[in-house]
Structures are given as structure tokens and as C-alpha cells.
């Protein structure tokens, strides 16, 4: 394919593709400033929907709950995910390893309705069992259930991210540390963990996003006092268009875009610094 045709093809595919991906979002953002409630009529620029959004107590409470939940979910998922990754990448020989692997990776493609239903039924059974044994009240639908459910389904994704980094880690680094006198625990905390830290961060961010965005599983296991933001949004959009949601969407997109740009810029800077360092090393012939 000659250069011109390839160029033309590349540009048209990219333009169309990215347009498809981004135009709906842009439209959403633009209409958050629309004075009118209707989608097809532009009646003027206004911030009034943002105001309405911030006056909506329920919405704000739900947002706060979702943020807290996402934070603790991400943290729990990263801790468990690191342990699971250790098992997947470093422990080669034990029975039922395939079972373990299947348990860890299955949620990646499992339809959420199945996950939600099964978890709720589990919590109900657990609640009955614990109440029956007199150990205390366990609320099948509540914040604790939400947390457990979120950690369970995000664990798969986090484990994929962390274990892929761990398997790339040069084993001789860990062997060298052991050779120099560090036992396995010390090796993990002094060598392994610092080196795979970026993967832990991206795993954490991934779990955070997934938790923040989940509506199906949360619907099953949340109770009246534990409404998450996605649940709130879902119930309000079922009733029709709601420009407050547009405002919310714009805020979320802006935050995500900012974080992404900052992250990318920071990584570029690190990469360039590395390049400079390596050049430096080449130059002097110590």
C-alpha cells in the first residue's frame, strides 16, 4: 500500500472511530449547559442544572457513599489481588491450582446479574444462619455487603493487572535478594513490592473506577440506607431525561480526563528522564 493510501486510510478510520467514541460524550457535556430541558432544543447557556445538582441532597449523599465505597473496595481488592497474584505467578505446584485460577478469573466475563443475584442469596443465607445461631444481626443488604460484593468482582481485574507485572519481574532479582540474606517476607516487601508498585497503583485505580461505576451488582445488595450514586442515577434516568445527570456526567468526565492527562504527562516525563540517564551511562566509559 503506498504511503498516501495508507495515510488516508489511517486518518479516516481514526477520525470516524474516535468520533463514534467521543461525540456522544461531548453532546452530553454540551447539553449540561442547555437552558432547556429538551434534547432537541438549545435555548441558551446556563449553569442552572449544576446548581440543581448540588442542591440535591440525596444525590450528594449517594456520591459520597460511592466514593468511600470505591476507596475501600480498591484497597481491599489490591491487597487480595497481590496475594492472589503471588499464588498465580510464584507458586507453581499445588493441587487444585486450576480451580484457584478459575475462581479468580471467572468474574472477568460473568454477567453481572448472575454475580449480583448469587451474592445477595449468599448474604441472605448468611444472615439467616448467623441470626439463627444468635451471633448477631447481619444485614444482607447493606454497606458491608456492598463492600464484599465490590471487592469480589473487582478482584479478578486487579489480579490480572498485578500478576501480569509480577510475571514479568525478573526472578533473579528476588533470588539475588535471598542470596544476600533476606527471607521471603523481606524480599517481598523490600524488593518485589517497590518494583511492581506502578501496577498496584493502576490496579487500585481500575478497581476504584469499576466500583464507582457499578449499578447491577449494587442494586442487588444495597439497602434503603445504602444507595450508591449509580443506583441513584439509574433510577432517575429511567424516568426520562434529566439534565442534572448531564451536569454530573460533565463533572465526572472532566475529572477523569484531568487525571488521565496528568498521569500520561507524568509517565512521559519519567520515560524521558530514563532515556537521558541511559545516554549518560553510555557516554562515560567508567
Amino acid at each position: 500500500m503506498n504511503a498516501f493510501r495508507q495515510h488516508w486510510l489511517t486518518w479516516s478510520v481514526l477520525t470516524l472511530g474516535f468520533a463514534f467514541l467521543y461525540v456522544p460524550i461531548l453532546i452530553l457535556m454540551i447539553y449540561s449547559f442547555n437552558e432547556s430541558k429538551l434534547a432537541s432544543v438549545w435555548s441558551g447557556f446556563s449553569f442552572k442544572w449544576y446548581g440543581a445538582l448540588f442542591r440535591d441532597r440525596d444525590m450528594l449523599n449517594a456520591a459520597w457513599l460511592s466514593l468511600k465505597l470505591a476507596f475501600f473496595t480498591a484497597t481491599g481488592a489490591v491487597v487480595l489481588g497481590t496475594l492472589a497474584s503471588l499464588v498465580m505467578t510464584r507458586m507453581r505446584h499445588f493441587r487444585s491450582r486450576t480451580l484457584f485460577g478459575a475462581l479468580i478469573t471467572a468474574p472477568l466475563v460473568m454477567p453481572e446479574v448472575i454475580l449480583g443475584l448469587s451474592l445477595l442469596l449468599l448474604f441472605v443465607s448468611m444472615g439467616n444462619a448467623l441470626n439463627g445461631l444468635g451471633i448477631g444481626q447481619f444485614q444482607p443488604k447493606g454497606v458491608l455487603s456492598l463492600w464484599i460484593a465490590h471487592v469480589t468482582f473487582t478482584l479478578a481485574f486487579v489480579t490480572v493487572v498485578i500478576s501480569s507485572r509480577m510475571s514479568e519481574l525478573d526472578k533473579s532479582l528476588e533470588e539475588a535478594a535471598m542470596d544476600l540474606g533476606a527471607n521471603r517476607v523481606k524480599v517481598f516487601f523490600q524488593i518485589t513490592l517497590p518494583i511492581i508498585a506502578p501496577a498496584l497503583v493502576s490496579g487500585w485505580l481500575l478497581a476504584f473506577t469499576l466500583s464507582l461505576d457499578d449499578v447491577v451488582i449494587s442494586s442487588f445488595v444495597s439497602g434503603p440506607g445504602s444507595t450508591t450514586l449509580p443506583i441513584k442515577v439509574f433510577s432517575s434516568v429511567r424516568l426520562g431525561l434529566n439534565p442534572k445527570i448531564n451536569a454530573l456526567a460533565t463533572i465526572m468526565v472532566t475529572i477523569v480526563a484531568l487525571v488521565a492527562v496528568i498521569g500520561w504527562w507524568w509517565m512521559r516525563r519519567e520515560e524521558r528522564r530514563r532515556q537521558r540517564d541511559m545516554q549518560l551511562a553510555m557516554q562515560d566509559n567508567g
Binding site: E175, A177, L180, G181, N183, A281, G286
Partner: protein, 373 residues
Amino acid sequence: MGTGHTSNDKDTEDYLRIVDVRKEFDGFVAVEDTNLSIRKGEIFALLGGSGCGKSTLLRCLGGFERPTSGKIYLDGQLMNDLPPYERPINMMFQSYALFPHMTVAQNIAFGPKQDGMPKQQIEARVTEMLKLVQMEKYAQRKPHQLSGGQQQRVALARSLAKGPKLLLLDEPMGALDKKLRSQMQLELVSIIEKSGVTCVMVTHDQEEAMTMATRIALMDSGRIRQVATPDEIYESPTSRFAAEFIGSVNMIEGRIEEDMKDYVTIRAPQLPDVIYVGHGISGYEGQDVAFAVRPEKVQISKEEPAQPHNKARGKIEDIAYFGSHSVFHVRLPTGFKMMANFANQERWASEGMTWGDEVWVCWGENEGVVLTT
């Protein structure tokens, strides 16, 4: 083998003892029942091609593999049940394995820190090590800011920082380019000897082993074929494998015709006359043997040599010019090609002989080795 013992050797002789060590992986035998005795302070090389088991044996010493059977003793202490972090053994890895998130100084300090050495002592140690490998200026650099040769020095310093009883080197020159290699080989030996540590190294490069080691164990398919000093292994190989692995050699198959007390003749189809060996060997008439003579022991001349035996006529088929010497490949009428080295002691000395010339090759009666294995 093993000439030149002094009375002190008895104490230092079995510093590292490998006793009947065997390592199997799922039925595949990587290391066959191996026995080695290594003296204190020597640089001992495990030499062999890939898959011969040398790296596996080294990893058993380091504690990264558990021998299927057998015992390893260091300075009288049994090592088998000790994990790597409890052994007084340190290893320099082929990839150096420098911790990328730590500076040079922190890398070197890592070992002593694990031992709980007080901070000042650690600092003093690090400085001492940096001086030993001449990397004082680079203490605060990170590994990716160093060149290959510099990284190697840091790796060496790190593995010596704890003053181990045994130092293991895994293909120490593997990651360096050729020019750097020769220079570093001698430097490495000097540093190791200065620190006085006993050293076991693994390599596939025979030149490296010959240059650096005090003794070499030649390995093949999990077995040790010969243990000797470099010159012994070169001049007195005990097997075809050893003769062919180190340096180049003319290998001639034949059968013993006369087996006398002080001479032996060998009938070889590849040579026109019998080979005359000027000493007796422990063999018998009719035995199939191989006669190995190195190219530098074979003389090449235009005129017929005076000696009665060990000579043949042939045509120059190939000349490989190496600058310092030339290797003449001479095709004998029997079809056999013999290699003869010619040192270019005078400029343009080998000009006289060229492709297609008829020449004579000859060698002394004690310059070859008779091999039965």
C-alpha cells in the same frame, strides 16, 4: 593430575565438598552423582556447553535448587537444609540482578543490612567495596545509569560485601562485549584474589575458564569428565571430549599395533604411516584409540623433515590468517585434513607457502596424546 601439593593443602583441601550430588527434574537427570573437592582460596571453574548441568550444580551450591540426593559441605558445615539467605555463600548473577529502585550504595549495603550490621559499619563496608572495584564516584547512581562493565563491578562488590566463604559466579562475562571481556577477566581475578575468597564460576567459554581459573572441571551431560588445572587439561586431556572442547585439535582414529614399555605404535587409516608415540601407555595391542595432537605442535615445511616417524605429505587446502599466526589446513592423500599452526614471527614469514603447495607436516613423538575414551 594434581601435582604440587604442599603440606598445608590437607587442611584447605576440602573447603567445599560436593558429595554424590544428584539433581533430577521430573525424571530428567541434570546432574549425575557428582563429587568435587575445592580448596580454600582457589578459583574453580565449571566448564561445559549448554545443558551440561553446570548451572544446575551452581544453583544447588547457592541454595536455589535442592539436590535430589547427596550432600554439600562448606568449611565442614552441611549446607543442604539451609535456604539461600542462611548460607555464607553469595552469588553474582549473569544478569547482575541489580535492584533497579536502589542506588549503587544501597545495592551494596543490602546484604550487610539484612545481617543487622550497625549503620556506620555498613557505610564503611560500602566505601571499602566501592574502592575495591573502583566505583567510588558512582555511589549515588542507579543501575540504569551505568554501563555494562560498571554494572558488573557493582554486582561483584555487592556479592563480596558480606565477606562470604564462597563466591559463585554465573557466566560472569556473558553480558559483556568481546573487547571488555578480556580486560575484565584479569581485573575480576585480581579483585577476587585480593579479597581472598574461594570462588566457583560457571562458564561455557573455554578461554574464560583457562584465563581465570586455577582449576577446571569439564562437564558434559551432567557428568564431570575431567578435573585439572588449565595447562593439564590442555596438554593432557583424558578424553576425546576434553581434547575437542578446549582449543583446536587434530583427532586421528586408529588402533594400537605395538604396545611396548617405552613406545607405542598406532596404525591409523587417515595417515600413510604408523604413528610413533615415544612413551608407554596403559593399553593393549589391538585397542581402538584416538590420537590427539594440537595444531601448534605440528610443523609445516616445504622440505621433508629428517625424523623417521610422524610425518606426512599433503597439499595446502586452506589458510586461515589470524595476524599473529596462520593455520594451514593440509589435505593428505588419505583424505584426512591436518591443521598446522605457523607463528608469524617475522613479518610476511608465511609468504613462502600458499594454496595448492605441496608441503610436509610433522610432529614430535611426545607431542600428542593417546586417548582411550
